[in-house]
Symmetry: C2
Subunit: 422 residues, 2 copies
């Protein structure tokens, strides 16, 4: 077994935490921002130092390639993302990239032999925080391999036109054109040149910690659906409209939320659902709200349970508190299963390193889920302290980061040795 350097990995975590530092524990590092550029500069600097070839594709996905001994072999990729949500943490995404860099630095330092080229890769705009949706560039690149029913959510032209949620004007493509790391379309990840993809990520949930496991051997990403629920009332002056005359869209929303919780809580106990985003109009303290829109995100490994959620949302009563209620399915995905041979390399590496582990689902979406339609793919999870993620408190102790990087290194080397090019 090979081992990475804990100190070098820790130095990278500390260094990258500066690029977008919020100064209260977390970071805001939107895709294609100045902070994103600085983080990539740091990556390129480190990868050049160990002799990697660097290139990027037209979506600014960035690749650092450590050459293998073999001729005309396909490449093995370790990928994750450097962008964050607003006020996100210092582990989601970035840890997967830093562990990939650490694996290449270890291979270089210890002169570990490998046949295939091994690549550390950054996916652009995994979070979709500024330019929705999430997993944008992995969806674009994997598009030809996606199930037909999902494709309409991921038309390249529509995604490139996604507008900034801040200025409602700048498109993702506008930002791409300004961005230092935009490269050529021919450099995109593809089936001809690449063999397999591994993604290490924090769990973003409390399961590993609760079960006192150090490594999550991820075997699937669970299915989900995402709705926009819209409520139409009537705006009037706060001081002059008797209560009985009102159609208050925000009060109606409260009733809708409680209705949804009651109905959804009757379904399977593993179902999770979230109402995280709200738009209120006109959002003025002296005016009765006439419009509310909110998001509903529901996830479960069993597609049948997701179908039950859809039935509840699509058969919401049409009127709450005299306001009209409608729902629109924004997107959905089925449960995605990872490649069993790659899962097995992760499992073997974990066992040989003697780390406590368990099989686990991913509840969150990841680029690996998109890529899995195109290439053999799998994921490795490390624990999240108290299960927190997408917030300042997001944290994974350095020892667990180190262990994750060791599993990644050895799983990739097993893949290099055993996984045949087709």
């Amino acid at each position: 077994m090979y081992l990475v350097s804990l100190e070098r990995l820790e130095d990278k975590i500390k260094t990258f935490a500066k690029f977008g530092d919020d100064y209260h524990g977390g970071i805001t590092r939107y895709a294609l921002s100045k902070e994103d550029e600085l983080a990539r500069d740091e990556m390129v600097k480190r990868m050049r130092k160990i002799g990697c070839e660097i290139y990027s594709d037209d979506l600014a996905n960035l690749y650092a390639v450590k050459k293998g001994r073999g001729q005309n072999k396909k490449k093995i990729v370790m990928a994750s993302h450097l962008d964050s949500v607003k006020n996100g943490g210092n582990y989601d995404g970035v840890l997967g990239v830093l562990c990939a860099l650490e694996v290449l630095e270890t291979i270089a330092e210890q002169n570990i032999e490998h046949e295939h080229d091994i690549v550390a890769m950054v996916w652009t705009n995994e979070e979709g925080s500024l330019y929705p949706p999430a997993m944008m560039s992995s969806a674009i690149i994997s598009y030809p391999y996606l199930p037909l029913k999902f494709r309409e959510s991921y038309e390249e032209e529509n995604l490139l036109n996604s507008k900034s949620v801040l200025d409602h004007q700048t498109t993702f493509e506008d930002a791409l054109k300004q961005f230092k790391y935009r490269g050529e379309r021919k450099n995109r990840l593809n089936q001809q040149d690449y063999l397999a993809m591994f993604e290490l990520h924090i769990e973003q949930g409390p399961v590993l910690e609760a079960n006192q496991k150090e490594i999550g051997v991820v075997d699937k990403v669970i299915g989900m659906c995402n709705y926009r629920i819209k409520i139409l009332g009537q705006s009037d002056h706060a001081g002059t409209t008797p209560m009985s005359f009102r159609k208050d869209a925000l009060f109606a929303m409260s009733k809708v939320l409680i209705y949804l919780h009651q109905k959804l809580d009757e379904l399977d106990k593993d179902l999770v659902y979230t109402t995280g985003e709200i738009i209120l109009h006109p959002n003025v303290h002296t005016v009765i709200p006439d419009y509310v829109e909110f998001s509903l995100d529901a996830r479960h490994q069993d597609d049948h349970v997701i179908d039950q959620v859809k039935a509840i949302v699509e058969h919401l009563p049409k009127v709450f508190e005299k306001c009209e209620v409608t729902s629109t399915l924004a997107w959905h995905r089925d449960t995605v299963y990872f490649n069993s041979r790659l899962i097995n390399y992760v499992l073997e590496a974990t066992k040989e390193l003697n780390y406590p582990y368990q099989f686990i689902n991913s509840g969150a979406g990841h680029d690996a889920q998109m890529v899995s339609y195109m290439l053999p793919t799998t994921m490795i999870f490390v624990p999240s302290k108290n299960g927190h993620s997408h917030c300042d408190e997001e944290f994974t102790p350095i020892k667990q980061c180190y262990q994750g990087a060791n599993v990644l290194l050895n799983a990739v080397l097993k893949c290099d040795k055993n996984f045949e090019d087709k």
Copy 2:
């Protein structure tokens, strides 16, 4: 009795509706905006044409003075505002200004004799939509006369520093300095030079229409309190945090809203209350919300009922759905009674014009309420179709606008004739 010109008034309503036209029925004309400037330009043009003296004060309140025959007499003011809320209507505020202009144009055209100078006046930033709070400049000017307990809400220095709700940076004072109509502090409305103030306004409620009355003789502005209610949860990833681990601030808010509705609905049936504004953090569909703040505005003529509201809000349970709930009183006012002699001029004018009328409270706040602490003041209401206001549908038929202007004209002339300077 004198009568204004319906056609001329209608022309003004149509003309002023262009300045900030939303192209779906209403307007957005923030205080100190380009649209506000255009509306004032139009007013100045019209008032110059009839020989008015024009000046403004340091808060950009604008005065057009039609000279009376008397020497050293105090001035009588007719005032309202030209600014609107976001997506407001074409009658709130602006109608009071246009009726004041129409009164002066009628006096000029018909050569109506009057002793006192009569003034059409615009109050800057009544709505407080861009720079909160509402009634900002009338509060600043009336400050020395306000009850002590209200003063801390209206310290001039704080109000001038009020930041734009759009860019969170530009202050009201910054915008004032850039604004064409900023004048001198010595021009402020004051007790030495001014005798009384009238404000015509739309009712912004359904009462006059429901009772088939054309004129509301306003005798008071009812008391109110305004709270910010804050809910603190924990943000975590939407896909990975089991329901039982969550502290969802938005779900907690739903429970708080329903609790408040249940408790407040048990109080007097004339109580109105509104939760019009909400701040949600981080407001991302994949993150459980960790913070919600919302406004509660409650109004009733009986201060005892407002005290009951305060008791309910200030004794809210501290925890809803595992989230912490706190409340802060943002501001409040007691019921304000208008000057009985001015009310009587309005009443007599209405009776002589033979318009159906009723006494009515104002539920909304108006600059008149601030000024009433400094000068004899009263208001005239005209009906609002279906009670709608602060929205595209805000509407008062031209006949009712015309009748309101006639009442204003004749009430002001009665004041001119009968109200003694002290």
